[in-house]
Amino acid sequence: MNKKIGSGTFILSSPVKITQFEAVVGQKEHEGPLGSNFLYWSDDEYFGQKSFEKAETYIQKEAMNHVIEKSGFSAKDIEFIFAGDLLNQCAGSNFCVRDIAVQFFGLYGACSTMAEALILGSMVIDGGFADRTLALTSSHFCSAERQFRFPLEYGAQRPPAAQWTVTGAGCALLEKESAGPSVVIEKVTPGAVCDMAITDLANMGAAMAPAAALTLKRYFDDTKTSPSDYDLIVTGDLGKVGADILRELLLTDGIDLGSVYNDCGLMIYDLETQDVHSGGSGCGCSASVLCGYILPEMLKKTYRNVLFVTTGALMSPTSSLQGESIPGIAHLVNLKV
């Protein structure tokens, strides 16, 4: 296995290129600090559809169609789609791809799905099984509330550590060869599940931070690099509380994330004015920040060497009612231009 270095980081022998990408978001995300980076958004939380679930499928489909259209290919030129969302049975993604007959893998990695899809999509290309794959995820505030919490109009208070599910979708096209501008996936570190016995559903950041620390430490050890070697290290949706804990955890292990570290959940909303408590969350959080902000900025060379680490809380509503703690996971992708 000449592609594996250290305990679990993989070098793609011919770096896979991300050539096209697009994000679609809701109004709250458009009003956030990254708002002007999102070309496609709507002030209608239904996006013209009849239900929130249909709306989620719709934004995923919009992101996918924009990417395919911009690439100049048609759906049949794409070998595989790796996609996932937060709904039961990954329904959002299943319905998104049902009309295009592309070979499809549905993923559930909770909010970590975007990097999971990028890892699998790039490994498949590197393995010689495909020339083109899509990585695609979404989340919708209203459908996630329905899935995991109370009815929308139910009067409940959120504690300060709670996070706000991002309404958004992101899609990236991965290619083996491309002449045009592209961001390269050079190394990947798939995550391992890590459970530190956190049971508080209103504190997902704390449940996921150890998994992020585990994956980042594994990556730094395997590659013998340190945070200062990167322009940006960004986690998916740890929020304010989780990001704080991650810094502390890595510090105890002698790794200082320093000023290059940020979190998509903190970037997409203004915590002071948008009433999102600890920050954004959801598959759509990291996906829309990646496709709407990080990748475009990388093409402009604002960032040249980025670690994109998405984090997921892998509980189910049933497991939580039965008193189980929240297992976390974090997948890492090293992006370069």
Binding site: E153, G155, L214, D221
Partner: protein
């Protein structure tokens, strides 16, 4: 590989230290003010009913409850009640308006899944416990009431 470094008990301590607490004093204050305001509204409605209709106290009380439940369902429907509850917390949960909100909100939410398999069963997702344990408590209260009034009074 040496992984995180911490036992879960120590991690729990770190999390507790890093997690901000709810602003207890502020929450209590708004719960008191908003909950109190809802009760004052109820009292006002009752006084008006007694003033304009020839009803006894108990019937006026029933009509007051009906009015409050109606107002709560209305405000839930137009999306105001959850905004009020965000500030009011327990102050909006405890009065009868909280119960009405717990019934009305799933009714709106599960409309898309149909009348029979959507609204019907889901109406009680939040309020079901109140009804079940309210009934059970009433049953035991009835027994105690019967025993006390029959044998001791």
């Amino acid at each position: 590989m040496q992984v995180i470094f911490l036992r879960s008990e120590d991690y729990a301590k770190l999390v507790e230290q890093k997690t901000p607490n709810s602003p207890m004093l502020k929450d209590c204050f708004f719960a008191f003010v908003i909950g109190g305001a809802i009760c004052c509204l109820g009292q006002g409605i009752k006084d008006l009913i007694l003033l304009f209709f020839e009803l006894d106290e108990e019937t006026a009380g029933t009509w007051t409850t009906i009015c409050l439940v109606f107002l709560s369902a209305l405000f839930t429907g137009i999306g105001w009640y959850d905004k009020l509850a965000k500030i009011g917390g327990a102050g909006t949960l405890v009065p009868v308006t909280g119960f009405a909100n717990a019934m009305a909100s799933p009714a709106i939410e599960f409309k898309k899944e149909g009348l029979v398999l959507g609204i019907g069963p889901k109406l009680f997702t939040v309020a079901g416990s109140v009804i079940v344990y309210g009934t059970v408590a009433a049953f035991f209260y009835g027994i105690i009431y019967y025993v006390v009034t029959t044998f001791f009074l």
